[in-house]
Amino acid sequence: MLNSAIIVFRECLEAALIIGIIAAATRGLAGRGRWITGSVLAGLAGSLVVAAGADWIAGLAEGYGQELFNAGVVLLAAGMLAWHCVWMSRHGRELAQSARSVGQAVASGAAAFSALGAVIALAVLREGAETVLFLYGLLAGGEQSPLEVAAGGIAGLAAGALAGYILYAGAVRLPMKAFFAVTNGLIALLAAQMASQGARFLSQADLLPSLADPLWDLSALLPDASVIGRTLNAVVGYRAMPSGIEVLFYALMLAAVLLAMEAVRRMAPPAVPAR
């Protein structure tokens, strides 16, 4: 049971941390709880469909359906996260300045937040599908009773949710000014991380070169499999031995997001109400 709890925890951790960051970034918005829950449920439903269709997906595109599917999911999420960052660079200050104007900002930013809802759904879909297949394998293997499998799954899920909650609780304790900078920074890093994951899947399918594999090796210092390594991986995309293409995509995405944010800020300074 402990084994299955650990694996379910690992699969859930990434999605839980992403939900934690997004929940923090949208703090105080009306109806937030409803659409986060809705996105998680949509992701779960999608993960069942993907798990059921895993054989079919694997066989697509001359055996690279899985890579193309995963790359599509993470690159779509990367684009939506990037868009949200750019949107926030225009409206973040308004949000920070007056918690009362938040209701209004939601009306104009509903589209931006629905993009974040889609990111949650995509994260849950991908990690959820792997979890479903793993648990199915345990049941089909017959070495564990259904009760043990369920108990392990629930324990792992609870631990993952707790990790996401800790990140959320830490972020919302930040002072208002730092809060928007930190949450928006985390979302920019998530976008970069998703872009680099997309590059990894495409390189695995031989559609992109790896450039250098690995580009550097920090596995002696901070291995991927360690608790800190895993957490940093989920939050900022840390990898001990990244390939060149992953690092390139990460850097390009981060640079593109930061430059776009700066450009938007200059182009249209947000209306700051005089006080």
Partner: protein, 110 residues
């Protein structure tokens, strides 16, 4: 905004134009009873290698390697292809994430 997008497109275009290697060395791996056979495979360093992995078990497995930056699901009874490298000479462990205790192996690039 325009400049980074253009730069990104240029890089992507040049990457897409990189020819895929026609003759990648091929290495076959099997999964039986949650173990990799063989558990140790030698591949040439500095070349892209095609790993062809067949899962003979009736449960899915996930091939994973932090060292090679690879992760791929192998449905029960299916065969999948995973491109690895070009690797620098060295040892690159991999494992089956769903059965980590038994499903372990290593790629040796030399």
């Amino acid at each position: 905004m325009k400049l980074p997008v253009t730069a990104l497109l240029c890089v992507l275009a040049s990457l897409a134009a990189t020819p895929a290697f026609a003759n990648n060395p091929e290495v076959a791996l099997s999964i039986r009873e949650h173990r990799f056979e063989p558990a140790e495979v030698k591949v040439p360093a500095g070349q892209k290698v095609k790993l062809v992995v067949t899962n003979h078990d009736n449960t899915p497995e996930e091939f994973e390697s932090h060292e090679m930056n690879r992760e791929k699901l192998i449905p029960a009874g299916k065969t999948v292809t995973i491109f690895i490298g070009p690797l620098k000479p060295g040892r690159y462990p991999f494992f089956g994430e769903f059965n980590e205790k038994t499903a372990r192996g290593v790629v040796i690039a030399e």
